[in-house]
């Protein structure tokens, strides 16, 4: 259970989050949509404590995210960064099994490698990718390695920042299925950012739209088409005309 109440964040004069209230139930999948530059990535970083919110409260399972045991807090998280954020000094398999090679979850190297190759297979990458370095991969392949790394230690809470951006339609389908599977079969809680409406419908239990620094609309995915909100309508139909300015 992730809960945000009145979260604000500014960078200098740029007020990105202006009081975000949001909650994601345990084992549910929430998709956050919203225009480019509205602060979706910043929102994820605030929950993870990578950016400190200026005000507001963020709790995970009732515990405050900012105070308390950061180790235990982060141990149950997995995060796919928008840019992949792979470690370019390590081969692909060591990226994927990073958590399994050190720290509390440390396994023997051979076993960690096995798990890495299995996770790579799940994101549609063949075992011969395992020994390459990230710089040798295409953008979409790097994204999928990042995804494999996020799920490698079977986290209870997973954040995906644009998991299907830069992927072909078939691969997008594979990834959508994978995220759905992680939520419904492994009972994980997922918070996904995406611009891809096909993904939204495939992944989401609930949808929230971020606009103007606040959650403009939230509701079950089935209610998305009948939201009655002109902002949501413009967004999901991709119209240039509407309340959301094209210049921002």
């Amino acid at each position: 259970m992730i809960e945000l109440a009145g979260v604000t964040k500014s960078f200098g004069a740029n007020r990105v989050l202006a009081g975000v209230d949001l909650s994601v139930g345990r084992g549910r999948s929430l998709v956050v949509i919203g225009g480019s530059g509205t602060g979706k990535s910043v929102l994820l970083k605030c929950i993870l404590g990578l950016e400190a919110p200026d005000a507001g409260r963020i709790t995970v399972d009732g515990r405050d995210a900012a105070t308390g045991d950061r180790e235990a807090f982060l141990a149950c998280f997995g995060m796919l960064f928008q840019g992949g954020a792979l470690f370019d000094s390590l081969p692909v398999w060591q990226n994927v099994s990073f958590r399994l090679l050190r720290g509390a979850l440390k396994r023997p190297r051979a076993e960690a490698r096995e798990i890495a190759i299995e996770k790579l297979r799940r994101v549609g990458l063949s075992p011969d990718v395992a020994d390459k370095v990230p710089a040798e991969l295409s953008g979409g392949m790097q994204k999928r390695v990042g995804l494999a790394r996020a799920i490698a230690a079977d986290p209870q809470i997973i954040f995906f920042d644009e998991p299907t951006t830069g992927l072909d339609p078939i691969m997008s389908g594979v990834i959508n299925d994978l995220i759905r599977e992680i939520v419904s079969e492994m009972g994980a809680t997922a918070l996904t950012i995406t611009h891809d409406m096909t993904s939204v419908r495939a992944i989401a239990d609930e949808v929230a739209m971020l606009h103007g620094g606040v959650i403009r609309w939230t509701g079950p995915v089935a209610a998305l088409d009948a939201s009655g909100d002109p902002y949501v309508d413009q967004f999901i139909h991709g119209r240039a005309e509407g309340p959301i300015a094209a210049l921002r």
């Binding site: 982060l74 995060m79 960064f81 954020a85 792979l86 720290g103 790394r149």
Partner: protein, 261 residues
């Protein structure tokens, strides 16, 4: 009236930001020590850093020291000739290399070679969110990135300085024997008899301090890097500037300390 006031204000602002930077570096150094003393310790990263700082710096350190030692012998010979004191070449080369030039040259070479590469690497990691990714993977960036590199600096640079001292003396020996007509065994005996343990100790202590400064400044500037390619460029430049100035300042202080012993 206005001009002097604004000049004063600018001066004051520069002093304040300088002091703030000193404070931040000090806090960063304290944090590094704190993380050094608590587990986990990343041995593999330490060994890689040791290779980068120590082993791969050998060629540049060796060449710098050799040429400097050789040039030093020629200068001392020329200077000594003015009052019939050419014979002191071995002693002065040894003293100059061990107490001053060895540590300073190696320190500055490490600042150029190692500090810059550490800063650029960590800054790029920061800019591409790899540092954030480390945190989400339950790995503390100070423990994983800073501690191994700083430890490698503390271990490897004194060894490099010791080696640089020897190679520099050898450079002076080569020039002395080849072109200044010194007898090889006399040259070596004069060097050996002249040097005292304190000379060597001061050399190695300086190496330790410079290794710490060089690696710490690389990590510090990298971790504080701004966004984008420009941020990486600025961080790299700032790291080398900071490390070089601090190394020379520390050299001045340490020389004073050993001078008074």
């Amino acid at each position: 009236m206005r001009l002097p006031l604004s000049l004063l204000a600018a001066l004051g602002a520069a002093v304040l930001s300088g002091l703030a930077a000193v404070g931040r570096v000090t806090l960063f150094a304290l944090a590094t020590f704190r993380h050094m003393l608590s587990p986990p310790f990343y041995g593999r990263e330490f060994l890689v850093a040791l290779g980068n700082v120590g082993w791969l710096s050998l060629p540049v350190v060796g060449l710098t020291a050799f040429f400097t030692g050789g040039a030093l012998a020629l200068q001392i010979y020329a200077g000594g000739a003015r009052f019939d004191a050419q014979a002191v070449v071995p002693q002065i080369v040894a003293l100059g290399m061990v107490r001053e030039l060895g540590p300073v040259l190696v320190g500055l070479m490490i600042a150029a070679r190692v500090t810059s590469s550490i800063a650029a690497e960590i800054a790029t990691m920061k800019v591409t969110e790899q540092i954030d990714a480390l945190v989400t993977l339950s790995t503390h960036p100070m423990k994983y990135l800073t501690v191994p590199r700083v430890l490698a600096g503390i271990v490897a640079v004194p060894l490099l300085v010791g080696l640089g001292d020897i190679i520099g003396i050898f450079g002076g020996f080569t020039v002395g024997v080849q072109s200044l007509g010194f007898n090889p065994s006399v040259y070596i005996r004069n060097t050996w008899d002249f040097l005292e343990p304190l000379d060597v100790i001061s050399s190695l202590v300086k190496g330790l301090a410079f290794g710490f400064i060089a690696t710490l400044m690389g990590c510090y500037a990298g971790m504080r890097s701004g966004r984008g390619a420009q941020g990486v460029g600025r961080a790299t430049k700032a790291s080398v500037e900071g490390a070089s100035v601090l190394i020379l300042a520390a050299n001045f202080l340490l020389t004073g300390v050993f001078f008074s012993l």
